[in-house]
Every structure is written in C-alpha cells, then in structure tokens.
Symmetry: C2
Subunit: 492 residues, 2 copies
Amino acid sequence: MAKELKELTPRSVDYSQWYQDLVIKADLAESSAVRGCMVIKPYGYAIWEKMQRQLDDMFKETGHSNAYFPLFIPKSFLSREADHVEGFAKECAVVTHYRLKTSPDGGVVVDPEARLEEELIVRPTSETIIWNTYKGWIQSWRDLPILCNQWANVVRWEMRTRLFLRTAEFLWQEGHTAHATQAEAEEEAMRMVNVYADFARNYMAVPVHVGVKSANERFAGAVETYTIEALMQDGKALQSGTSHFLGQNFAKAFDVTFTNKEGQQELVWATSWGVSTRLMGALIMSHSDDNGLVLPPKLAPYQVVIIPIYKSLEQRDEITRYIQPLLSELKSRGISVRYDDADNKKPGWKFSEYELKGVPVRLALGGRDMEQGTIEVARRDTLTKETLPYEGIADHVAQLLEDIQANIYQKALDYREQHTITVDSYEEFKEKIEEGGFILAHWDGTPETEEKIKAETKATIRCIPLLGDKTPGKCMVTGRPSAQRVLFARAY
Amino acid sequence: MAKELKELTPRSVDYSQWYQDLVIKADLAESSAVRGCMVIKPYGYAIWEKMQRQLDDMFKETGHSNAYFPLFIPKSFLSREADHVEGFAKECAVVTHYRLKTSPDGGVVVDPEARLEEELIVRPTSETIIWNTYKGWIQSWRDLPILCNQWANVVRWEMRTRLFLRTAEFLWQEGHTAHATQAEAEEEAMRMVNVYADFARNYMAVPVHVGVKSANERFAGAVETYTIEALMQDGKALQSGTSHFLGQNFAKAFDVTFTNKEGQQELVWATSWGVSTRLMGALIMSHSDDNGLVLPPKLAPYQVVIIPIYKSLEQRDEITRYIQPLLSELKSRGISVRYDDADNKKPGWKFSEYELKGVPVRLALGGRDMEQGTIEVARRDTLTKETLPYEGIADHVAQLLEDIQANIYQKALDYREQHTITVDSYEEFKEKIEEGGFILAHWDGTPETEEKIKAETKATIRCIPLLGDKTPGKCMVTGRPSAQRVLFARAY
C-alpha cells in the first residue's frame, strides 16, 4: 500500500467520509457482498476480542455465567409481548424454507416443498426465546436469581447501514437475568449500566453520561431503560450500551412464575442488557485523528511497536540481538509488543502504517542509537517523539502507556465539557443544536414535546442523567414544570 | 432435585438414553422450542469456553488471527462450487423475507412485499462468503498466506438431531487459509489436524486416530480431508475434527488469483478446518459413567470442590475460617476450586451432585478432621476416597489432578486398544462389526466396495491412518490389491 493510499479524508472536510476511510484503511472492517453485513477484519477483531475479554471478566466478577440460546425464534414467540413485536417486526430476517434443490438449468432454487410450518425469525434480540427457556428452569425462589449472558450475533434489517455503527448483522453480548423481587431486578439493571460506564471510561477511555431513557427511546418491552451516552468528535451523541429493567412483562408473556418463600405463586422479574460491535464505532470516533486510529493502551492489540533502522541485513541482525532483553522485559510486564524487522518495507512506511493503526507507543532504534545508548520514543496520542536513554526504557514505556490511557480520556472529557451547554429558551436551543454537542435543557416530560423537538431540530433526549444538577425548572418549549434538566443531542 | 432424579439410565441398559439423561441432568444442554436447536446451559457452556480458550491459544501460537464473516450467504455463492452445493443444498435454512407486519387479527405475518431479491442462506460453513471476501484481499504473493479463523454459529438442517452430536444449529470454529503454493497449503491442513489431535489427547484426554478420509467421506469441495477419529464407550466412532486441503477449487469458483514473484497470475491454494460443539459429545461419551460426568481436570469448570461437614452454623463458620489458607493456596497454583457451604443442601446431596457434574476432586472436612488434622479426598475418575493429613494437601491435590488427567486418557486408550481388531475376511468382518469397535482391514480403494460394505454392515471407513501398519494386502471383499489397512467402524 503506497503512502497516499493511507491518507484519510480530513475530519474537517467530511467527518463521515473520514470515518469510512479510517475503518477501511486501518483494516478494521469492510462491507460484504451481503447487504448491510460487514466483515470484521483481523485487526478490528483483535480490538473487539480485547473488549470482549475485559467485559466478560467484569460480567463474571458480578456473578454472571455464559450460556447459549438458539439463533432462531419462532414467529409466534415475538408477538407474545406487544411492545416488543411492535419494536422489532419491521426489521426481521425471516427463514421460511429449510432446503434447496438443483433446478433443471443446473442452478439451485429454494425447494417449495421444504416450507416451514412456522416461520423462524433470526434473533434481533433474545428475550422471547430465553424467557420461554427460563420457564423450564424456574419453579421456586431457590432457582433465582438466574444470571446469564450470551455472546452472539443478531440481525436487524436496517436500511441505512454504516460499518460498526449500524449493520444488519452485528455481534454483541446480551445479559438476561431473572429475579424474585422488583428491587433486586432494578438493582441488577443499574449494576450493569454502571459496569458499562466503568468499561467505557476506564478501558475505552470514553467519558459517558449514565441516565434513564425517556419513554420514546425505551427498549421495546422494557419498563425502564438505562443508557450510557458518549459524544463523538463531530458533536453527535452515540448510545453505547443499554440496560433494561423489564418488570414482569416477559414473565407474563411466557407465564414464568415461581413459588415464593410463603408458598405463593409470583411472576418473575427481569432485566436484559447489552453492548455490541457498535462500541468499536465509539472507540474509533472518540479518539482518532486525521492520521488514523488512536487506541487506548488497554485495548490496543499491540501496545508497543519496535522498528529497527538499519543499513544492512547484518546491522538488522545486530539490532535484533541487542533488542531481545527489552522485548523480554516488556513481555514480562504484560506489555504486548511487536518487533517489525520486515525487510520489504521501509521505516517511513512502517511509521505511517502503525500511526494509521493507532499503536500507542513506537520505538525506533538504529546503529547510532546502539552506539550512544539511546532510543527514539514516539507516542501516538500527541504525535510527539523524543530520544531517550536506552537504559530504563521499559520503565518509561510502562509509565507512558498509563499516561496515554489517562491523556486520551482527559482529551475526550475536555472535548465533551467544551461541547456541553446549558440552554433555557427553545430559540437558543434551535440555534445551538446546529453546532453539535450536548445541550442540557428543561423538558416537561411528555412524549409530545419530545417529538416536536425531534421533528424540528433532529435532536433527541439522550438521557435523563442520574447524576448532576437536579434543580427543577420550566420546559423550554411549553413552559410547563420540569423535574430536572435532560441531555439533548443529535445522535447516531 | 431429589436423589432419584439424578439417577441415570445405566449404559448397559440403554447407552443412548444414558447419554441423553446425562446431558440433561448434569445441566449441560437441553432441546429448545426450535426444532433441532439446543440451549447450551451455563455448566455445559463453561466446559465449551475452556475448550475454546485452549484451542484459540493453539491457533494463535500457530500464527492464526480471528476475524468475522457474515452469517448469510447469497444463494448464488453456494452454487459456484459444484461439489460444495451438492453437499449442503439439502440442509440449508433459507431467509426469503426481511420484515413482518401485524395482521388485522393482531398477530404478525410475513410481509409479502418485503421479499428479498436473492434468497440468503444461513451459513452451513463459510468457504464461499470467505473466498468471495479474500478476492479483495489478495493481489500479490506479498498478501499471502492469509491465516484466519472465526468462532461462529452455523446451521445445517438435520432431520435427526441429538444434543451436541447433531443439531441444526451448532457452535464451531472454522479456519480458512490462503496460500501461494500447494505444498504450503497441504502442510497447513496437516498442521491443523495435528493441532486437533494434540488438543483431543492432551486436553480432552481422548485418544484419536489421525488419518485421511476416503473420497466418499470427504468434505464437499475438498481435495483431501484429514480427520481425527475417536471411539466412544458403546463401540461407535465419532469424527471429532476435520481439516481440508481444498486445492484451488474455491479460488477457481471465486476467481482469486495472485501475482507470483515472477509476475505471473496464479490461482490461490486453500485449506479449511473446524471443530464444533460436537466435541462436547466426544468428551462426555469417552469418560463418563453411570454416576455421571467424568471430566478431565484441564477442561473442568471446577477442578476441586470442598464441602464442609458441620453440625451447626457456628461449626460451619469455623471450618470456613480454617479452610481459607487452603483455598488461597489452591487458587494461587491456578487450580479452580469451589467451596460449597450452602446450608439448604445436605452433604450427601452435594456429593452426588458434584459426582454427576464430574468435578475431578472432592474434598470434605468436618469437626473431627479439624481436630485430627485430616481431610477426606475423593477422586471422581476411580470413585475412590481416602482420609489424608491436612498438611501438604495442596501438593497432593495438584499431583492428583495430573494423575487423573493421565488416568482417564489411559483408560480411554485401553478401551480403544481392547476394541480394535484386525480382520482379513469379510465374513469375519460382518460378524465382528456387530460387537462395535474399530476394525483394521484391507480395502481396494474404490467407492463401490466402500458403499457395498456400508450398505451391508452400516460400517464406514473412518480414515486411512497416517501412522501405523502400512503393509499392503488384499481387499477383504474383492481380493484386489490394498495399499494398507484402513480403519472401519460404525459411527455417529
């Protein structure tokens, strides 16, 4: 790949094209031959695997186990919960046949005799099939809680798709829990949205607001939806993870009851919660720049790359020997490091390649460095470099990775703070929303007002924040009472 | 669950029912509401996760990266490779529509206006969609090899299903590699079947034969299929993993060429290889007994369970305090241990529960043990127990886990050796095949003879072994020349 092929459309010219360029050129993902379905390439998948591993550890620490439920959902299951089917019916992939046959012209056709009695839906989410299963698992209060998670693919037939952000098929995890009491289920839903917030902040280095969704934006079938909301560099919000208190809606729909300690039958309480490969979009858009990806060290497939600068293969071998103790020391500290001594690419090419791929720290070392006991250290987040003593460099790198993790979080937080304003009049709101960013404003709590604002400004209520200013006021549109300011933005 | 509910049908009475009972009662999996699709329950999934983690490490050590390709395959892709479509057409789940709508009676129906222009097949395997993608990734020899793996669900519409062994949807990994030369691709296919054999022997404790499939049993679209074959306790063989040298078949079908070092265009060489949740069936049927699962320590979700025997809650707390240093010591050695002090179940119940679930080592400790400095140690594989000094018990347990791993492998190997015979006449073959087990016999290498044997005896050629006796001989059926003895069995 020649240098110019790596160049991205600058964000200031066309943010959307920049994103698309970056996802493709950094080898994260690409569109497939199947409408709306993506191929996640090895480098992109390596980041997703790091996310998965960390989230999975966090789920297990909070008492959850993984399980696996069927890809297919009988059509009749979906319609058992009225809001749920309403929310998903329009984007369902439907399996109607189970066999192909060869046609006289040598092609293959669907065998009309192999029609399913009941159509199967490729799961858009698994509440229905899981609650139908839980019915068999739950008899008494002793069987509760059930704390399951699954890592799976789901399909929602979206018409306008964008790599990672909105695809017909995506990868996600979905937690589904069953509880004896309302309080316990509410606590669980809250626990998990906070796990997501912790993960976003401390691993992805993405600051997020935690809040409750308004009724309009609630998950289809939920009583309450909690969300984490992040702000991208173009001033648009991205919903990054949701956790739902489902009340007894699915227990009712699938007749799941338990005998409580007093010997009475009660309906079971539920939650579900999920994050998806959409997080990849949040990660990319929060930190990256016109030179390429910027990855937080905690999720980078390689945290450090070392590039030898040599004039001959003999000198390369000399550097390779010289560098071995450093490689071992970095690895022994749990730092993932790649030594790239490939001879068919020049150092300059490698520099821009790893810049594009967002490797947090780049070390480069040539003959003179060996003589002088130095090494060049470049950091991806600030695009700065310096020459440092070789001795003690492992300590320096370890510290630098921590600094980078903290710095990119701070940078994203600063951006968000600079792009969050408080507005009191609807006139000002309509003007300011054009500039992007979060707007904290008063709202009367009605779906009608929310819909009017959305229709006129394309802004939605991202959430009713759980923390922060709780002062009541007056709705900017209707003047009616407002319990607290809510968070508006245009969103992905 | 009362004691009698845990009892399994003995293997000698009905092996197939024993298997079914065990899978259900040990909480490994169950059938779902969707025909042929299973639910993998948390305990079963925990074993699968251990398998995944280990295999994934082995794939990465051999240079592979994970990626993800679409769930759906356009119907026209499948037909590009003639043998491939022939092999899979009869068991394809077909998506024809992308939307539901509510009907006047309140139910949901498929929206006839939302019919796909081209039907999509839920992947039964991914060669076609992946080679269509690789076309865009490969221009020059510098782009090769490509060494990708994906962990995914696949669907093959099987009519007769059995939990783990044959299900309509199953989980698997599929490696798909692209190479510049035939030799390199052949080496890769061989490398991966040996990785599978290594995993089966050293982690699952399942002895396997490594060999080549006859043409009849080859993967649809492969030039050569390598396989690992295990023998279950009922004398039936189970194909446990396959690795395919695909030649240039998929490169031809999807027009994937590269410029070689001499500047000429050549077709790319391919392999694919996979193991699935079927391995769970192999694991269960290789070692388990009439009391329940027997798990190899390397794949057991808990390797050790500790059960306190107490007369009062005060005494329980005393044991709990007493046992803490042992728990820490076991954990610090990387031994997974569960301390079960639940008060709502009696020790006897717990003993049979963990026996059913195959926990390799059970420790039990009561008031008298604390006084006398002893502990009871039971091993699951031999169903034996002894009282040992408490001091130094962590060392003993660590060694015991190794012994159990080795012992259950040896036991399975002994069983296989006792059930492998050499036969020279077809008369003897027909008699002996009724007893189960592997039969090594001469075969003339023709599909016709193989089919005749299968039709008359239900036995198939499991593989042409790569190792072992290579002496030529005469086909037991036709008397024609045979290059070497091949391995016959009735199989799952």
